[in-house]
């Protein structure tokens, strides 16, 4: 690692006292420990097996200062936000460079038992709840980049639903990067706790511009029979390095369904850890990767079946154009005694250009009996017969390609739970098919 980059990371320790939680000993200690753990470990390299598809050299070559909070209040900014966010949800918190932006947020009021507020505010009001969960599942020793986030995040989204609360309306956390002309680091954070029997839908979107390192960390704890639909939308600019780590712990009967669409970024990693800790817990992942130009996507999933009769299903589709790269590394681990586990994994790739490539690495580690696991991977181009069929009916070649590519991607998009999100993704994916080199959004 480059000396100035190392020094830069070390110097960021000085930021900690001024960040939220500075007055809460448990939180200050958490940040300090996480920072130390990160410094000791360093930025992961592609020489490490868990990170073999990662391209994080930029972090070790160039110091990335933590981005400053930027105010977003003008009418132009509001219009841009509406364009970016498509009005997915009535309850919305916007974070700009990791800091809460109250002027453009509308967290809405909620029934008793539902808390949807910035983490900094929640730490002050519900300190015990926050300290009990924050930084616990994404442990600093095991997750170096999440440790950096734990140490340095300015704020974040906190969603807590007490038992029996099953709000219909979705929640939305919008994380925007407002880059300048320097390399910057942004550490978006989300903490989601659904107590026994609660259910919610949450959208986390990542958009913005600049040569930024966006390093989100998301921790999810689901109590008995709790249900979470989690939508992850990554539409950052082509200069962005994005490394999201998600950890979900599921109690008995809990369901977590993650819908992830990764469209933007220079290098974008989505790392999903799910722990099915008790019987009948169920985890599903539907993911869509769209790559063009020189983009690289890395989806890494680690599913732990730690109890009997648990289920998981992962379905990934990748559409790769230009000289983009995609990678799927999916490991399912079935612990001793976790009999009756069902696990399915599929990865299908549409390779639109001879210079694009997809790597898939399914792994099953099984220490139990009576386990049903299945995985499959396919790679293909657009079917020339289907293209000719469409063209013979008067549909021109670009439109025929768009229709077939959309049909491929739609299988994943159509499983996203909200019509507004599906519409948004259809439009974004159409845009990407028409202009494969344009990632993210207009700056």
């Amino acid at each position: 690692m480059n000396a100035s980059a190392t020094a830069g990371f070390a110097a960021q320790r000085a930021l900690i006292p001024a960040l939220y939680g500075g007055g809460i000993p448990a939180l200050s200690a958490l940040r300090e420990r996480a920072h130390a753990a990160f410094l000791e470990r360093g930025v992961p390299t592609s020489g490490e097996d868990e990170w073999r598809y990662a391209d994080l050299e930029v972090l070790t070559q160039t110091p990335h200062e933590v981005a400053h909070a930027v105010g977003l209040a003008g009418s132009r900014e509001r219009a841009l936000l509406e364009y970016l966010l498509g009005g997915f949800a009535p309850g919305r918190m916007v974070f700009v460079n990791g800091a809460y932006a109250p002027a453009v947020s509308e967290p809405a009021t909620h029934a008793a038992g539902i808390t949807f507020q910035p983490l900094a505010a929640a730490a002050a009001l519900h300190g015990e709840l926050v300290t009990r969960h924050l930084g616990k599942s994404l442990a600093a020793e095991l997750h170096p980049l999440a440790a950096l986030n734990t140490a340095l995040h300015r704020d974040g989204l906190f969603l807590h639903c007490a038992g029996t609360q099953r709000p219909e309306a979705p929640f939305h956390g919008a994380f925007l990067a407002a880059g300048d002309d320097k390399p910057r680091a942004i550490h978006p954070r989300a903490l989601v706790v659904l107590e026994e029997g609660a259910a919610a839908t949450l959208i986390l979107s990542f958009q913005g511009s600049g040569q930024v390192f966006v390093n989100p960390a998301v921790e999810v704890t689901l109590g008995r029979d709790a249900v979470l639909n989690l939508i992850l939308l990554q539409e950052e600019s082509s200069a962005t390095t994005h490394t999201l780590a998600l950890h979900a712990s599921l109690a008995s009967g809990a369901h977590c369904h993650v819908h992830a669409a990764s469209l933007g970024g220079r290098f974008a990693r989505t790392e999903v850890h799910a722990h099915l800790a008790d019987r009948h817990a169920e985890f599903q992942l539907d993911a869509l990767l769209i790559g063009g130009h020189e983009q690289a996507h890395d989806l890494t999933a680690r599913i732990h079946h730690d109890a009997r009769d648990t289920k998981s299903r992962q379905a990934l589709k990748a559409v790769l154009d230009g000289s983009s790269r995609g990678a799927f590394s999916g490991r399912v681990e079935v612990s001793p005694g976790a009999d009756g586990t069902h696990a399915e994994q599929s990865c299908r790739s549409l390779i639109l250009s001879p210079d694009a490539a997809m790597n898939t690495r399914p792994e099953l580690v099984i220490h139990a009996d009576d386990v049903r696991c299945a995985h499959g991977a396919t790679y293909g181009q657009l079917d020339p017969e289907a293209l000719f069929y469409l063209r013979s009916r008067g549909i021109d070649l670009p439109e025929a390609r768009r229709l077939l590519t959309r049909a491929f991607a739609d299988e994943i998009i159509d499983r996203f739970p909200l019509e507004s999100v599906r519409r948004h993704l259809h439009a974004r994916v159409d845009g990407r098919i028409a202009r494969p080199d344009e990632t993210g959004v207009p700056a």
Binding site: F388, R391, S392, G394, I395, L404
Partner: protein, 260 residues
């Protein structure tokens, strides 16, 4: 049929081969006037689908000699979608399954693409739905097929009906129907034939490609051509089909003189 106007389709000495393969069309000439129905018959492998594919613009066939004029323009210079826009339709011998695109959406996109190419306004969803329902009724097609993915999981007969439905929606000037009859039971054959007959008009021409003469009982052609080894070896009227039925293709391939 006699006419002094330009023929709708004029194929002159057409030679084609599969890209990097041996010759399969070895000099085809064929003239189709507006309103005429021609049948092209011939044994399996004689080049019927190759001819249909070359006319529709299949890329895997390379034309090595000859010319094709369609409605006044050089057909071979046009992309498949431009041929469709000018009124050429190919009913596929093996219709393609397209998962994830509904039949209705596919057909509306196709029709509006063709309308746009001809400077006509697009049909909106309601107008299109009316048209689609009317045509589906004509083809005795269950409306549920309209919202299913194109041809996906359709039986052989349903696929062929779907081809004729597409023709009925797109209303081409020239429909080339490649073995639309194969794989159909007699009832389905009658529905398909009725669909084609309903679209017969003085403005519309049809080339029926078939291996059996059975279809010609239901759609009576004006001319019949017999293809063998990539050449038209006999042309004639309706009687030719009956002769073929009596003597088999071996008779044509052996020289085609009427046995004593």
């Amino acid at each position: 049929m006699t006419t002094t106007s330009e023929p709708l389709l004029a194929v002159r000495d057409l030679h084609a081969r599969v890209v990097d393969g041996a010759g399969i069309l070895r000099g085809i000439s064929l003239t189709v006037q507006q309103g005429e129905v021609h049948a092209i018959m011939g044994p399996i492998g004689s080049g019927k689908s190759t001819l249909a594919g070359v006319l529709a613009g299949r890329e895997r066939f390379a034309v090595t000699a000859g010319s094709v004029t369609f409605d006044g323009s050089d057909l071979l210079a046009l992309a498949p979608e431009e041929r469709a826009a000018r009124g050429l339709f190919l009913g596929f011998q093996y219709p393609v399954e397209i998962p994830g695109i509904t039949n209705a959406y596919f057909l509306r996109t196709a029709l509006n693409s063709i309308r746009k190419a001809n400077n006509k306004p697009a049909l909106d969803a309601m107008e299109f739905l009316e048209l689609l329902k009317a045509r589906a009724r004509m083809m005795e097609m269950d409306p549920k097929f309209l919202n299913r993915s194109v041809n996906e999981g359709f039986s052989g007969g349903e696929k062929k009906r779907n081809e004729i439905l597409q023709m009925a929606i797109l209303e081409p000037k020239l429909a080339i129907l490649d073995e639309t009859d194969s794989g159909l039971d007699i009832d389905a054959l009658k529905v398909v034939a009725a669909g084609v007959n309903a679209l017969r008009s003085p403005e519309r021409s049809v080339i029926l490609v078939t291996h059996y003469q059975r279809l010609l009982d239901h759609i009576v052609p004006d001319f019949i051509h017999v293809l063998a080894h990539g050449r038209i070896v006999r042309s004639g009227g309706r009687d030719l089909a009956l002769e073929l039925e009596r003597h088999g293709y071996g008779w044509i391939e052996a020289g085609g003189s009427t046995p004593a």
